[in-house]
């Protein structure tokens, strides 16, 4: 039953694969422009068997998740602080307004200059790209906490400090998680993009190398590998949300 449902849910993907297969096997497209799906699958299998996939995916995940974690650890408290302190808000709000729509990847040369060409510059790049969403969601979440919840806690004897942990943090958690959920794919995208610009190991670097050698199955295998990693990360995040928000109406249809 579960398998059937999975197949049904994945049927658009299967349809796309079918079209891809038919188009390439009828010779409608040159294999150099679009290699056949079975060619890409073989390459994918070879990458897995040789450990290339594990190495590159692991490295990319490490950079993406480190940068993501730093963005969350700094971004959530920063957003809460901006929401609750007028002076901090006055100082930070214009900076965020300018930074939010900025193409963050443009800072990569600067970070390379400051932090070298190895992991550190890529991790900083990821954090920088991801932090704006986290801060904005944390700020909005904190500001959106219903005052009657704060008042209830205070009238039951909670101190101001206790209210922060007991009420604001859990009440704003859905929005914190929403920001974090958007920041996670941004982190992966930024890590891959940085690798593609800088070269070396990692999924992005492997795709850059494949492109340079006109190895189109390699490029397409890289795209599939990157999507698999993204799917895994986003799926894990959804599970985390489900677990943390068991109480939320979102998971309690009445």
């Amino acid at each position: 039953m579960g398998v059937l449902r999975l197949v049904l849910r994945m049927s658009p993907v299967l349809a796309l694969l079918a079209i891809w297969y038919i188009a390439t096997s009828l010779g409608m497209i040159k294999p150099f422009l679009l290699p056949a799906p079975q060619t890409v699958a073989m390459r994918l299998w070879r990458d897995i068997a040789t450990g290339q996939f594990a190495l590159n995916a692991g490295l990319t995940m490490y950079r993406a998740l480190m940068g993501f974690a730093i963005a969350c650890l700094i971004g959530v408290p920063a957003g809460m602080l901006i929401a609750s302190d007028r002076t901090v808000r006055w100082f930070c709000e214009p900076l965020i307004s300018v930074g939010f729509p900025m193409p963050k990847i443009a800072f990569l040369p600067v970070f390379m200059l400051w932090f070298g060409v190895y992991d550190l510059s890529k991790i900083v790049m990821v954090s920088f790209a991801a932090i704006f969403t986290v801060v904005a969601a944390a700020e909005a979440g904190t500001r959106g906490v219903d005052r009657v919840l704060l008042w209830s806690a205070r009238s039951m004897g909670a101190s101001r400090a206790a209210v922060f942990w007991d009420v604001i943090l859990p009440a704003a958690m859905p929005q914190f998680l929403t920001g974090i959920q958007i920041a996670l794919p941004v982190s992966l995208i930024t890590a891959v993009a940085a690798e593609m610009l800088m070269g070396g190991a990692g999924l992005g670097g492997a795709m850059l190398a494949a492109g340079n050698y006109a190895d189109s199955p390699g490029v397409f295998a890289g795209i599939v590998e990157t999507s698999l990693v993204g799917l895994l990360a986003v799926g894990g995040m959804t599970q985390l949300r489900r677990r943390l928000l068991r109480w939320h109406p979102e998971f309690n249809p009445r």
Binding site: D146, R147, V148, L149, W151, S152, A153, R154, S155, M156, G157, A158, A162, D166, V167, P170, A171, M173, R246, W247, H248, P249, N252, R254
Partner: protein
């Protein structure tokens, strides 16, 4: 606590400035003395400042002018001597019913099995037994408000502040909740300040009704319950009850018209 003193409100004036617009006077020189153990209703049209007055007693907003004191002294911050029940329940949605009720107990330093038993007692009192482990999102509005009342009663406040607590409930549930609230009040004899715009509700529940005027909020009249408030629910049909509702409604009507002219 010394008996007799419930809540003393002395010459309280309170204003606010909306985002766009001129400063408004919400409460204009209010003085009111509510004896201990009294069930007191604040009745008036929307925008008359009755909730503001309640929040000032609760200590949630800063008193701009005048003073409010209770048996515990001057009001300057929220405290567990004044419990509050809000219209939209204000339960912590990430806590189950029993965790909500236990929260205030734990803040008082009551922990473990004692907190569990006390919480159970108040959950039984509001007829929510069997729903201890439910999250608020899994309960109906009436049940959520029962949980909120249990949570507030559990910290054993001297004063119970209620801001249109049954306003969000359907008519049948509201009637049952009113009856049960009266029964709880008779058993506990807490001082209750009950904000409502429902004349029949105020007449049914309260010993004394403060009829408030449209903005600026003033206390127009104090009305004492004139009929025999027995535990019999047939009171709704008694001529004394209907007469009093008419009498109070006449006082409120002008204010409602005035409030409507002000655009509420």
């Amino acid at each position: 606590m010394n008996d007799g003193v419930g809540i003393e409100i002395e010459r309280v004036t309170h204003g606010y400035t909306p985002k766009r617009g001129r400063p408004m006077v919400a409460l204009d020189d209010i003085s009111l003395s509510i004896p201990a153990h009294e069930f007191h209703a604040l009745l008036g049209p929307s925008g008359c400042g009755k909730s503001t007055l309640l929040f000032l007693i609760g200590g949630f907003q800063k008193i701009q002018q005048g003073r409010i004191h209770t048996a515990h002294g001057d009001v300057c911050a929220p405290g567990p001597d004044r419990g509050i029940v809000f219209q939209n329940f204000a339960l912590f949605p990430w806590k189950t019913v029993i965790e909500n009720v236990r929260y205030g107990l734990e803040k008082k330093g009551i922990k473990g099995s004692e907190a569990e038993q006390t919480a159970k007692h108040f959950i039984d009192l509001v007829h929510l037994n069997g729903f201890e482990r439910s999250y608020p999102a899994q309960l109906s509005g009436g049940m959520q408000q029962r949980a909120a009342i249990a949570r507030t009663l559990a910290i054993d406040p001297d004063i119970l502040l209620m801001d249109e607590p049954f306003g969000a409930l359907d008519a049948q549930t509201r009637r049952i909740m009113q009856e049960e609230l009266l029964a709880i009040w008779r058993a506990t004899r807490k001082t209750v300040v009950f904000v409502t715009h429902d004349v029949a509700e105020a007449v049914y529940l309260a010993d004394t009704i403060s009829v408030m005027s449209a903005r600026p909020g003033r206390i127009k009249r104090l009305v004492h319950a004139s009929f025999n408030r027995s535990e019999d629910t047939a009171v709704f049909k008694s001529p004394e009850f209907t007469d009093m509702v008419e009498h109070v409604w006449d006082m409120v009507r002008d204010e409602v018209d005035e409030a409507r002219r002000q655009g509420h």
